[in-house]
Amino acid sequence: MSALARGLPATLLSVLPGAALAVDISLALEDVVGPDWRMAAISIQLHSPQAGVADLKLRVGEAVLPDDHGTLHGVEFVCPGLHQADSGWHCKDGQLRVSGSPVGPQSAIWQGGYSAAQGWRIDIRELDLARGRAALSFHSDAAGWSGDLQVLRLQAWPLAKVVGTPGLPQDWGITGLLSGTFRLKGDDLGMTRLSSELVIDRLNYASPDGRHAAEDVVLRLDAAARRRGDKWNFNTDLRWPKGAAYAEPVFLQPGAGGVTATARGAWDGVRNLVRFDSWSLQQPGVVDLSGTGHLDTTAGTFDDLTIVARSDHAGALYDTLLQPFLIATAADDMDVRGRLGLVLHFDAEGIEQAGLDLSGLALTDRQGRFSLDSTDGSIAWDRERSVPVSRMTAQGASLYQIATGGFSIEALFSGDGVRLQKPVEIALSGGRFRLDNFELSGALVAGARPSWQADASVHDVSLAQLTAALDWPPFEGSLAGTLRDMRYSEQVFVVGGGLQIEAFDGSVVVNNLEIREPFGTIPVLTADARLRGLDLHELTRTFSFGRIEGRLDGEINAIRLSAWRPDSFDLHLYSPEQDDLRHRISQRAVENLTELGNGVSAGLSTTVLKIFDEFRYDRIDLKVLLRGDAAEMGGIARSDGGYYLVKGAGLPRIDVIGRNRRIAWQDLVERLRRIQVEQARIQ
C-alpha cells in the first residue's frame, strides 16, 4: 500500500481532535499516478458535527489496478459513524461500494480504524468476488503491514480473469471452486511473506482437441514463501486426493493414497531462477519421484536437474506413465512386473547421466511375441565420460514361441550407444545361442534413429525342440550356424553376412535375409536359401516321411513370408550330379511322395511291389513355385506332360510321376500334415 493512501486520511483525521465546532472538510484530487496504477477523480469529504464524531466519504471515480488487473469505477468508502476512542478513530458500520470492477459491482460492509499507536486496521466482509464470497482483513502500522484474504467458493474462470492468467486457454471450459486463505505481510519495500492454504474443488476442463481434460479434480495446496533479500524461499505441498485428469497421452487418477507433490527452494526474481532444494511427486503403488534442480523461468528450461525415480510396482508404472509414450512401438502392449529404480541427471544440453536398477523385472508381450523373465542388474550411462560396465542377469527370455535359458549381459553404455563387453551365451532348444558382439547406436540420445548391429552363432540346437516350439513339421537332429552382420534400423532387420546352418551333414546358406517390422502386425520376411549336400537318410529318418538315401541339393529363392506364412517362393530340390551316397527310397517314402505330388496314394501295398522294402532311384527333383495361395509343382519334365518327382533306376524300377501342376498351397500343406499324422499313428 502506498504511503499516500495510508497517510492522507490519517492527516485529515488528525485535524479533527479537539474541534468543538462542526467541521466540514472537502478535498478533491484530479489524478494520482503510480508506476503501474492510477486513480482519478478522487474526493474526500469529512463532516464532524461535534467533537469525537465524524462522517467520512472517500470516492474514487476510476482506479486502474496494477499488473493489468483491470479498472475499478465508482469506488465509495463510507463511514457514517466515525467515532473517536483510545486515541484514535474507529468505524463499526462502514460501507464499501464499487459500481464497476472486473468482478462486477461490489457492496460490502467494513469496520476498522486508525490510531497513532496501532496504525490502520480494516476488515471488509462479504465481498462478492468471482461469484463467491471473500473477506479481507488489513492492518498497517509503523512496523509494516499484513493482510488476510479469505475466499469461499470462488469460481475458477471469473477468478482467472481477475487474477490475469494469460496462459490459461479460454476455450477449455474451465470450472472449479476455490476456497481458502491467503496471508501476506510486508513493509514499505513491499511484500515479505506469503502463505496460503487453498482447496480447489470440482475442477473440470476439456480442451476442444481432447488432449487435455480434468474431471472433478480436488487439489489442496499449502504454500509458504518468505523474502530474503532479492530471493524468496518457498515451501509448497500439493495434494490430489480425488478426480481424474488426462494430459495426452497420460491418464492420471490418484489411487487410495492420492498423489502428493512437494517443492522446497528459492526464487531469484532478479535472475529469474528457481532453485529446487528438493521436490517430490508420489503416487503410492505407482512411483515415487524426487530430486533437485534449477529452473530458468525466462527460458523455461531446467538445468542441473536430478530425478530419482523408484517403483516397487513396475507394472503400474508402465501402465500409467510409460506405455502411453510407447504406443505404436513393439513395447506398447506388455505385462510388466518387478521393481526398478532410475536416477537421471540433466544439464542444459539434456540428459547427462543415467543409472537404472532392475530387481526382478519381467516383461511379457501380451501378443506373445517376446518376453523377458525376472531380470536383475544395474545400468550406468554417461553422455561423455566413461562409465563402469553394466551388468544384467535374466532368468530367461523368449522370442515368439522359442524360449531360452538364463543369461548374463555385460555391456558398456556410453555416448549414443551400447557395446557388448563379452559374448553372451544363451541356452536355446537343447543347444546354445552365442551373441558374439552387439552394438547399439542412436537409441540413447533424443532425436537419433536407433540401429544395432550384431554377430551371432548357434551350436547344437535341437531341431526337434525348435520345430516343436515353432509348431513346424517335426525334424530331428541338430543344427549349428552363424549369423553374420545382423543389422536393425528403421524397423528392418537384415542379416548382411547371411545365415549359415550346418545340418543333416550338409549346409544351408540363407542370403538376403531381411525382416520388415519383425514385431509389427504383419512381419514380412524375404530371403534366398541354398541347400547343399543334405543327407536325405538323416533328414527323412527324423521327418516321419519314409526313408530316402542319397544327398539333396536345392535352392529356395525369392522366399517371402507374410506374418510368418509363406506368400511366395521358388523352390527346387534335386539330387546332385555327383553323389557319394547310394540312392535308395523306401516303399513308404514312395507312397508319401506320390501322395504329396498327386494327392492320392500310389497303392504299392496292394501290388506285387509290396514285397520290396526299398527301390533304387536315379534322381529326385521337386519344383514348387508358390504365388499367394496357388502352388505350381514340377520336376523332371516328361513328354506326356507329367513330371518325375523320383526317376527310378534298376529293377524293379519305380518312378514317381506328378500329374498335378497347379495346386492350392493349403492343400499341399494339408497333404504334408496328413502324411505326418498317419505316420505318427503307425509308430
Binding site: I327, D333, T521, I522, D629, A630, G641, N660, I663
Partner: protein
C-alpha cells in the same frame, strides 16, 4: 508355299500385337474385393473369409492321354491370361488374411467408440477422432492405441493388396476405393467424413 511365306509374318504380327497390354486399375473388381473385406471386418455380412482358392480340378490319377495333356497344357498356359483379362483382385494372400484377421479382432473394441460418435471413417480410408469429448478420460489412451493400430493395419492392407496384385503403384487407388466402401458399408449410427464435414449414417 507362298501362303506359308505370308503366314509367318502374320503370326509374328499377331504375337507381337499381343505383347502390348495396358493394365488399368480394375476399379470394379477392387470395389468388390473391398466390399468383401469391409463387410467381413464390420461383421455386416456372414460370409466367412475364404481359406484358400478352389483347387485345380485336374486329377492326379487320370490316365494321361497325350492329347488331353496337350490340350490341358494349352488351356493352362491361357488361364493366367484369362485371369488378367478379367482383372480379378487377389485378396487371399497370407499377409492380407493376417491383416483382415487383425482388423476383425479389433472391431469389437472399436465399435463402442464408433457408436458414441467419438471416432468415424474419414475420407482417406482411415479412422479419425471425431469427438474426443465423447471418450471417457480413462479410455482415451486405449483409444489412441486402437486408432494407431487400426490405421497401421489399414495402411498395410492397402499396400499389401496393391503389392499382391503386382502393382504397388495401385496403393492410392486401393485406398481411395476402400475409403468409399468403408463409408458405404458403415452400420447405422456410425459417423463418416464427407466433404470435410462429419455425417452420421
Amino acid at each position: 508355299m507362298t501362303r506359308k511365306i505370308f503366314a509367318y509374318p502374320m503370326l509374328l504380327l499377331v504375337l507381337s500385337a499381343c505383347v502390348t497390354i495396358n493394365i488399368y486399375f480394375p476399379a470394379a473388381a477392387a470395389e468388390e474385393a473391398a466390399r468383401t473385406i469391409v463387410r467381413d471386418v464390420l461383421n455386416t455380412d456372414s460370409e466367412p473369409v475364404p481359406a484358400s482358392p478352389p483347387e485345380d480340378k485336374q486329377s492326379a490319377v487320370d490316365e494321361a492321354n497325350p492329347a488331353l495333356v496337350l490340350i490341358g497344357l494349352v488351356l493352362e498356359s491361357w488361364i493366367p491370361a484369362a485371369h488378367a483379362a478379367q482383372a480379378d483382385i487377389e485378396i487371399n494372400t497370407p499377409g492380407i488374411r493376417a491383416i483382415r484377421a487383425s482388423l476383425q479382432r479389433r472391431q469389437s473394441s472399436l465399435a463402442p467408440f464408433y457408436r458414441s460418435g467419438a471416432i468415424g471413417f474419414d475420407s482417406r480410408g482411415s479412422v479419425s477422432l471425431r469427438d474426443p469429448g465423447a471418450v471417457p478420460l480413462r479410455d482415451r489412451n486405449r483409444l489412441n492405441k486402437l486408432l494407431a493400430d487400426e490405421n497401421s493395419d489399414r495402411a498395410k492392407l492397402y499396400s499389401e493388396i496393391a503389392r499382391a496384385n503386382g502393382h504397388p503403384e495401385w496403393e492410392a487407388e486401393v485406398r481411395a476405393t476402400f475409403a468409399r466402401v468403408w463409408i458405404e458399408e458403415a452400420p447405422p449410427g456410425y459417423w463418416y467424413q464427407q466433404g470435410g464435414s462429419w455425417r452420421q449414417r
